[in-house]
């Protein structure tokens, strides 16, 4: 059953991807803009400029450009970055792992903190910790991740400089990574000095990214727990004389999980999207920082490639969330 569902969902993603490709292209090619102007040297002639345009295929009519782009895309070729003069796919692949590790760390943080806060609020329901959790959740949702980032730089990078505020790893460490997944690789190899440096560099951006999601998870989990706690089977458990903590963890939590996963799923895509700005603030070498450079430098192939990559990522994340939901669902009926 889940397999058939997965196949159906994958099939549904294909027209979406095609649509994304069209929007992506139209957005950046039909709108006026001349990426070549950036690279005209002093003293270049009109012929030099024409040569550059031809080199990047910009002298062709728009439909021809689109067709070529799409054709290349289907072959996994995202074109060549004008500014970095390397294949876009290679660039994306070399930078994406840094972003993924950051986003995953942020998600783990958010889930752990969110669950702790949500459960805590219910455990101490009606007392001051609940009000504190509500306050934190309200603030967490009102302050967007990039403002958190700025505040963290101010507090922990400048006023009390205990954590690094730029980069991914201490440049003086000799690393010799074979994969671009530094954190995973150094964990697997058991090199804990590298793990320490990586985590120290990721700490502030990850917290900034995690806080809004933490707030959402805490709030949804709390209201789902409130609902679950009022169900008959909880009353039964109470009658049986189970402790409050035990009831929350064993009975209510399981049932509160499904709505929490479903509702915070969208928020997780926001977290991934938020890496764009957070990487900028913390000079983190991920795909988002590269995206802003590309936008500022009008590097059309690179912008298109990054947008396409994020779209694929979002579709995959949504797919994952749906699958989680399907996997979790049978357990709901148990209650």
């Amino acid at each position: 059953m889940p397999l058939a569902y997965l196949v159906r969902r994958l099939a549904m993603a294909i027209p979406t991807l095609f649509g994304v490709a069209i929007v992506d292209f139209v957005l950046l090619r039909v709108v006026p803009g001349n990426p070549i102007a950036m690279m005209i040297p002093p003293g270049a002639s009109a012929a030099d400029i024409a040569r550059l345009r031809a080199f990047y295929g910009l002298d062709q009519p728009i439909p021809v450009q689109f067709w070529r782009w799409l054709e290349a895309l289907l072959h996994g070729n995202l074109g060549v970055s004008i500014d970095l003069r390397r294949g876009v796919l290679g660039l994306v692949m070399s930078r994406l792992p840094a972003t993924l590790e950051l986003a995953l760390l942020a998600m783990v943080l958010a889930v752990a903190l969110g669950i702790a806060l949500g459960v805590g609020a219910i455990y101490w329901q009606g007392r001051w910790p609940e009000a504190v959790v509500d306050g934190i959740a309200g603030l967490g949702m009102a302050i967007p991740d990039f403002l958190w980032g700025l505040l963290l730089v101010l507090l922990l990078g400048v006023l009390l400089p205990i954590l690094p505020i730029s980069g991914r790893i201490d440049p003086m460490l000799s690393t010799h990574f074979v994969t671009p997944f530094y954190l995973a690789e150094s964990l697997a190899r058991g090199e804990f000095s590298l793990v320490g440096s990586l985590l120290a560099h990721m700490a502030l951006p990850a917290v900034a990214l995690a806080l809004p999601l933490t707030a959402v998870i805490a709030r949804i989990l709390k209201s789902a727990l409130v609902e679950a706690m009022s169900q008959d089977y909880i009353l039964m458990a109470r009658v049986k004389g189970l402790g409050r903590a035990r009831i929350i963890w064993t009975e209510a939590f399981r049932n509160a999980l499904v709505p929490t996963v479903t509702l915070s799923g969208v928020q997780f895509t926001f977290l991934v999207g938020g890496t764009v700005l957070i990487e900028r603030i913390f000079s983190y070498p991920g795909i988002g920082n590269m995206a802003i450079d590309a936008v500022i430098g009008r590097d059309l192939p690179l912008i298109q490639g990054v947008v396409m990559t994020f779209a694929v990522l979002f579709i995959l994340i949504n797919l994952l969330i749906d699958m989680t939901y399907v996997l979790l669902n049978p357990r709901v009926r148990h209650g």
Binding site: G33, N34, P35, I36, A37, M38, M39, I40, P41, P42, G43, A44, S45, A46, D48, I49, R51, F55, I82, D83, L84, R85, R86, L91, S94, R95, V153, G157, V158, L160, P161, I162, P164, I165, S166, G167, R168, I169, D170, P171, M172, S174, T175, R280, I281, F282, S283, P285, G286, N289, M290, D293, I296, G297, R298
Partner: protein, 514 residues
């Protein structure tokens, strides 16, 4: 450890001792730093590519420091912009300027250990001249050809005379690359493992994050003070300040002047802010209402450049009236425009404008691309308001500026920063004002007739005099509004000696320990 000489040891200890007060000041943050043998530079731009001779990054002045650390140029440039031998030690024209001769340095090596040969020099020049090679300055390099090698000497025929040819050899794309290693590795392979002949070799490069360099023991220029150099790419100015203040980096550049003034006087830090070859200027485009000479001159006279430098740039900068900075060859101190609000008002009246009947136009500027660019334009707009000119400020990105300029579609006035590290008038006044150049905004046959003959003029004294005359004509007619020469703020921890380079480069091989 055996080659770790006593002298180096003493240097290291000295540096460590000098660093102690800084460590105390910064408390916990300093724990993040510091290897006494390493220099960490918080650098303001990312390095896009390792080929210093092709693509847009090759003509990006802000990354030349990194290229100059790893690669050797044909000819080098001193901090005061004068020229000195690089990989060629002697160079010159023959009498009728139909041939050039260059002597290739003996005892220079590539980072793979093989010697730098005249073949490498010829190959690099031929590659640069090849239209398919992607060298943005190809139009200069293609002016020589038919190379001949005899011993260490290389001669070539001049196909068309370019007065600044040897200056270009110290400027953008004027780098020698290794023929054998490049042909073996190919363009992509070279990106992964760049080989130069400069003072430092690439040890590790993480795109978007940092590049770590190691001193090249066989460099012909002697051993630099620091064994390791890290360029950390920190594009955000606030983060760069924090990098140095927290002790994570030893040196940074291009931070806000306010921050520069604050940190410079803090114990444990030092700094320099010397004028560099960047000119903040306003392009005037020949379209209404700027076709009126009185208006153009009035606008120029109404700008209090000294007040802008003093108040906005906190004194860091030099007011300027032509496109030539004092360090440039064609600088003429007698060409003055001057701040004169009364004269400006009179000129406006002559042009038919007054605060009651103001003229309106658009002025374009970047924001945050150069220090205080946008604020400067706001201040200037305020000054113009007094004489009856309403400037509507439009902000764009620098990419947009290039686009509009290439299409001759800039607003009547547009802010830009004109860099000219070699200080030749052809690469400032020439390209900025000659109408066939895609970089000019004021296009007029009169100006073209004046500049045209100067391009290939073989008598150097006459050429410089010619450009001075052009600059005077431009100033008298208000065809461009130069504002100021920028100063580059460099901040570093105490205990370092930094030689500011007038071209705005941060060369790690010139950084020492006090």
């Amino acid at each position: 450890m055996s080659d770790f000489s006593r002298r180096q040891f003493l240097q290291t200890v000295g540096a460590a001792a000098a660093a102690v007060p800084a460590l105390e000041v910064m408390g916990g943050g300093a724990a993040l730093a510091r290897d006494a043998n390493a220099l960490t530079i918080a650098y303001n731009v990312d390095l896009p590519s390792w080929d210093p001779t092709s693509g847009p990054s090759a003509v990006n002045p802000t990354i030349q420091s990194i290229y100059k650390s790893v690669f050797g140029q044909f000819i080098d440039q001193n901090p005061d912009l004068s020229f000195r031998p690089g990989l060629i030690t002697k160079w010159g024209w023959n009498d009728d300027k139909s041939k050039i001769a260059m002597t290739v340095r003996e005892g220079a090596f590539w980072h793979d250990g093989t010697p730098v040969t005249p073949e490498d020099v010829v190959w690099s020049l031929e590659r640069a001249a090849d239209p398919k090679g992607g060298n943005p300055i190809q139009f200069v390099w293609s002016k020589i050809g038919n190379f001949k090698i005899s011993g260490q000497e290389v001669t070539a025929d001049v196909k068309s005379y370019e007065p600044a040819l040897f200056k270009w050899m110290a400027f953008l794309t004027g780098f020698v690359l290794p023929k054998k290693a490049y042909e073996k590795a190919g363009a992509q392979g070279f990106e992964k493992q760049p080989i130069g002949s400069g003072p430092y070799q690439v040890e590790e490069f993480q795109r978007g994050a940092f590049v770590r360099l190691k001193a090249f023991p066989k460099w012909w220029g002697g051993k630099p003070a620091f064994e390791n150099v890290v360029f950390k790419f920190v594009t955000d100015p606030t983060s760069r300040v924090a990098e140095v203040e927290s002790g994570s980096s030893d040196l940074t550049l291009n931070v806000p002047y306010e921050e520069y003034d604050r940190l410079r006087v803090k114990p444990g830090f030092a700094g320099s802010a010397r004028p560099i070859t960047d000119i903040g200027m306003l392009f005037v485009t020949n379209r209404p209402p700027m076709l009126n000479r009185d208006l153009r001159l009035a606008l120029h006279h109404a700008i209090d450049k000294k007040a802008i430098v003093d108040k906005l740039l906190r004194g860091y900068g030099v007011p300027i009236d032509t496109l030539e900075a004092p360090e440039y060859e064609a600088f003429d101190p007698t060409i003055k425009v001057g701040y004169d609000p009364a004269k400006a008002k009179a000129l406006m009246a002559k042009a038919g404008y007054s605060p009651q009947h103001p003229v309106s136009f658009t002025i374009q500027t970047t924001r945050g691309y150069m220090p205080k660019d946008f604020e400067m334009i706001q201040a200037i707009a305020g000054m113009w308001q007094e004489i009856g000119a309403n400037a509507n400020i439009e902000v764009y990105e620098i990419a947009k500026h290039f686009e509009l300029r290439a299409e001759h579609k800039l607003a009547p006035l547009a802010f830009y920063d004109w860099g000219n590290a070699i200080g030749d008038p052809s690469t400032s006044t020439g390209f900025a004002m000659f109408s066939p150049s895609p970089h000019s905004a004021w296009k007029s046959p009169k100006l073209d007739a004046m500049i045209g003959p100067l391009w290939g003029m073989k008598d150097e004294a006459k050429r410089i005099a010619g450009y001075k005359a052009v600059d005077r004509y431009i100033a008298e007619n208000g065809l461009v509004i130069p504002l100021l020469q920028y100063a580059q703020p460099i901040l570093y921890r105490q205990g370092l000696t930094v030689v500011p380079h007038a071209a705005g480069c941060i060369l790690p091989q010139t950084v020492g320990r006090a």
